[in-house]
């Protein structure tokens, strides 16, 4: 595949609903990252996977947020009981490997989540 892909491109949901956002990284990239970008801000780190395991989930804001990467490729970010404050663009990135943040991260186009 060419680059990082994310689906859906846009998601509108109602407060209290559950949503899943999908990320398909560049083939062969072992490291995968999720970021959240609120309006007028830079992206903020949520979670990082090295292979199948979440190596750093310190950016997840609360226990309503969860992410998985069961086979070390595609990842899903899951948000339970959505709140209006969860509205943002969710960006996924991948890199060839992870070595202390020194490898270039390549980003997908993001999913714009709107919680009504």
């Amino acid at each position: 595949g060419a680059g990082v892909s994310q689906t859906p491109s846009n998601k509108v949901t109602e407060k209290g609903k559950y949503v899943e956002l999908r990320c398909d990284p560049i083939s062969g990239h072992t490291a995968l990252y999720w970021y959240r970008q609120s309006l007028g801000q830079g992206p903020e780190f949520l979670i990082y996977f090295q292979g199948t395991g979440a190596a750093d989930d310190s950016g997840l804001p609360n226990d309503r947020f969860f992410a998985v990467r069961p086979e070390g490729s595609v990842s899903t970010l899951k948000i339970q009981r959505t709140e209006r404050g969860d509205s943002a663009v969710y960006l996924c990135a991948s890199s060839l490997s992870s070595s202390g943040g020194l490898d270039t991260q390549y980003f997908g186009p993001g999913t714009r989540l709107t919680v009504l």
Binding site: A31, Y33, Y35, G40, Q41, G42, P43, E44, F45, Y48, Q50, A55, D56, G59, V89, L91, A93, S98, G100, G101, L102, T104, Q105, Y106, F107, G108, P109, G110, R112
Partner: protein, 113 residues
């Protein structure tokens, strides 16, 4: 904790002119990387240029170059011969000490014809 500051929220430049975007950062790490990403309205973050902190030579990529001042913790981006396609949000980012990137708030650049 690392911080990245972009103090100019918005700039405009005429096509074919040169523009400089500023960025400062704070860290106690000795080994790190700095990045400039471009985000057009399509939302996709595109890498413009990267700089390794241990390299004294400033990175260049075609029309894009950086002025990296390690002691001052400054990392500015110079765009020469500005083109209409350069219109976008530009984000400065720090990578080092952990796997995550720390981004500034971004700066909106408009290139006018």
């Amino acid at each position: 904790a690392q911080t990245v500051t972009q103090s100019q929220p918005e700039m405009s430049v005429q096509e074919a002119e040169t523009v400089t975007l500023s960025c400062t950062y704070d860290t106690s790490e000795s080994n790190y990387y700095l990045f400039w990403y471009k985000q057009p309205p399509s939302r996709q973050m595109i890498l413009v240029i990267r700089q390794e902190a241990y390299k004294q030579q400033n990175a260049t990529e075609n029309r894009f170059s950086v002025n990296f001042q390690k002691a001052a913790k400054s990392f500015s981006l110079k765009i020469s011969d500005s083109q209409l396609g350069d219109t976008a949000m530009y984000f400065c980012a720090f990578g080092g000490g952990s796997e995550k990137l720390v981004f500034g708030k971004g700066m909106k650049l408009t290139v006018n014809p």
